[in-house]
């Protein structure tokens, strides 16, 4: 199964607001830690190494 890059969130605005709200009141370092924990939780949930590799590549393509 390839990485799904088509819309898959039922309520995108709700999710986005939840994501930002989860960081409320945190310092930059605390937010970075939260993000790392979140990535690890989601990666484990996905599990499929091919999907994870594709996600890593796609994310990296946005960087220098």
């Amino acid at each position: 199964m390839p990485l799904n890059t088509q819309p898959n969130l039922a309520k995108p605005d709700d999710f986005y607001a939840q994501l930002i709200a989860t960081h409320d009141g945190l310092s930059e370092d605390e937010s970075a830690s939260l993000n790392a924990r979140l990535i690890l939780l989601l990666a484990n949930h996905i599990g499929d190494p091919a999907v994870l590799q594709e996600a890593l590549n796609t994310a990296r393509a946005g960087a220098a």
């Binding site: 370092d29 830690s33 690890l40």
Partner: protein, 537 residues
């Protein structure tokens, strides 16, 4: 003059004048080994027990002080047992199974090595390196008494070598002055800073890790510290960026502090400064300091382990971080791999090309060890901010969520590699056979009626038959294969060698790795597999 570079724990091979020093012409030896450490002495044992004359040259007169390597893995002990030294190590060693991982002041989780039953040796023992080496030298003395042609020459320092197509010339310094010998084969077992590698101008490239570690071996009578491996990331007592506590024999504990790259070694090694770290970690505990040392490390290997008549083994050929206990343990696997190949080539029973497979197989093993050891190091000593953030995220999650525990890497403990798909490895024609004993694997041990399987395999090629008939011996190109017949097998043997099959035939190398396996005896297939395993196919 030969100055000692370190103090000795055991003076075992004092300098004695050799007849070679008075010979009119340089004496030629079949095999000379540079380095009397564990790898050199084990190589001498392997060859000497085959009846091949071997001379070990060491620039000291015995075994250096300091616990150094302390974790010896099952496969390493099985190899030592093949040479007759494994039981002494097991008797002296500390067996451990439980590991605990801490972050700051919290226990993140614990792991159990969950030892399988039906093996002669446990997953690991802790044993100070000088004992490991002494048991090997003790075994050499015993083998010599039984006629094994092994010589250990102390205070014999090799100053230069000249390599030729069919031999090597060694120029040696002794307390009585210089002399010269020749060797058909020279084994470089002279450690991570191998002078031999330097003399031959050979590469040794890899990655430097910018961190220092302070080892303090302490002796204490304290029941509060059980026989477990305790590892702290960022400990609350602030004695290091990470800290390891691990028990050794004689009431001694290894404490290992990660102390950073830019350190003043002399300052850090002063007793009061070592004690300050220890006291913060062990408040109110009394102890004696047995040995201290600061080490740094690299992960690297030689591009080629074999250079004509010169073959490198152990740390001289490859170096890893200590995390995972992959140094001495993998060096012993080099010895195991090299001994029988060199024996067959010297005996004219296999072509010279068989020795190229030593590099192929052991460089493959070294790469696996370097990969694992590098990953452990990157986890223990994160080198960027983001790497540090992810490392701590793993530790935070591991405390409450099982999924994160396999990501915690405080050292992936040494296991032997499988020579999958390499030149000597033959066919897998055993449908339903267990993956763990597939061709290329080291044979898993298992109980047999009067002992353990590995002890029955002997020093040559073995045809292991389970529930199937076959000839007692086969001769192929001057090599004899001896059959080990097991019938009505049950329990562990079924689990480890039959799987879903009803019968099986295994061709096993002298180093106890599986060449090939079948569900029945096929004379032509066994012979073809033997030719392949000896570089004749």
């Amino acid at each position: 003059m030969i100055q000692d570079r370190y103090q000795l724990a055991f003076k075992l091979y004092p300098y004695a004048r050799s007849a070679d020093q008075d010979a009119a012409q340089p004496v030629r030896h079949p095999v000379v080994i540079m380095g009397g450490g564990p790898i050199g002495v084990a190589t001498a044992l392997d060859l000497g027990l085959q009846g091949i004359p071997v001379v070990v040259l060491d620039d000291h007169e015995g075994i250096g002080q300091g616990s150094r390597a302390i974790c010896f893995a099952k496969r390493c002990l099985e190899i030592a047992d093949r040479y007759g030294a494994g039981e002494a190590m097991l008797d002296k060693g500390v067996v451990w199974n439980l590991g605990k991982v801490f972050h700051d002041d919290r226990k993140v989780f614990e792991f159990n090595l969950l030892p399988e039953d039906g093996h002669k040796f446990p997953a690991f023992i802790n044993l100070q390196q000088p004992y490991f080496e002494k048991f090997l030298v003790d075994r050499v003395r015993q083998a010599q008494a039984d006629g094994a042609p092994i010589e250990l020459r102390g205070k014999n320092r090799v100053d230069s070598v000249e390599t030729h197509d069919d031999h090597v010339v060694l120029n040696i310094t002794t307390p009585d002055g210089p002399y010269t010998i020749e060797a058909d084969w020279l084994i470089g077992a002279d450690g991570a800073s191998s002078p031999l590698r330097g003399m031959m101008g050979l590469d040794f490239d890899g990655r430097v890790f910018e961190d220092s570690f302070l080892i303090a071996d302490i002796k204490m009578d304290n029941e509060d510290f059980p026989t477990e491996r305790w590892f702290w990331f960022e400990p609350h007592f602030k004695s290091g960026a990470s800290t390891l506590l691990h028990k050794q024999p004689d009431g001694v504990w290894r404490v290992d502090f990660q102390i950073g790259w830019d350190v003043d070694r002399k300052h850090e090694l002063q007793e009061e400064n070592v004690r300050a770290r220890l006291d913060a970690m062990l408040p109110g505990v009394s102890y004696d300091i047995v040995w201290t040392s600061i080490y740094t490390f690299q992960c690297r290997r030689m591009k080629q382990f074999r250079h004509g008549r010169v073959i490198f083994a152990g740390d001289a050929a490859h170096q890893v971080s200590p995390f995972g206990a992959r140094g001495a343990n993998s060096g012993m696997q080099d010895v195991d791999n090299l001994g029988w190949k060199l024996g067959l080539v010297i005996g004219g029973k296999a072509p010279d090309a068989l020795l190229d497979s030593y590099h192929e197989e052991r460089a493959f093993g070294a790469d696996e060890n370097i990969l694992n050891s590098t990953r452990s190091t990157d986890f223990i000593t994160p080198k960027s901010k983001v790497s540090h953030v992810f490392r701590n995220a793993v530790l935070d999650l591991a405390e409450h969520h099982a999924f994160a525990r396999p990501l915690v890497n405080s050292g992936r403990l040494s296991v032997p590699c499988v020579y999958d798909g390499l030149s000597l490895t033959g066919e897998d024609a055993l449908p339903g056979g267990p993956a763990r004993s597939r061709p290329g694997s080291p044979c898993p041990d298992a109980p047999v009626p009067d002992g353990f399987l590995l002890g029955k395999l002997g020093g040559g090629f073995t045809l292991l038959t389970l529930n199937v008939d076959a000839p007692d011996t086969l001769d192929e190109g001057g090599i004899t294969i001896k059959r080990l017949a097991l019938s009505d097998v049950s329990g562990r043997l079924v689990e480890r060698y039959l799987g879903d099959a009803q019968s099986a035939v295994y061709l096993i190398r002298p180093d106890q790795h599986v060449v090939a396996r079948w569900d029945r005896f096929d004379d032509a297939a066994v012979r073809a597999a033997l030719r392949r395993a000896t570089a004749k196919g």
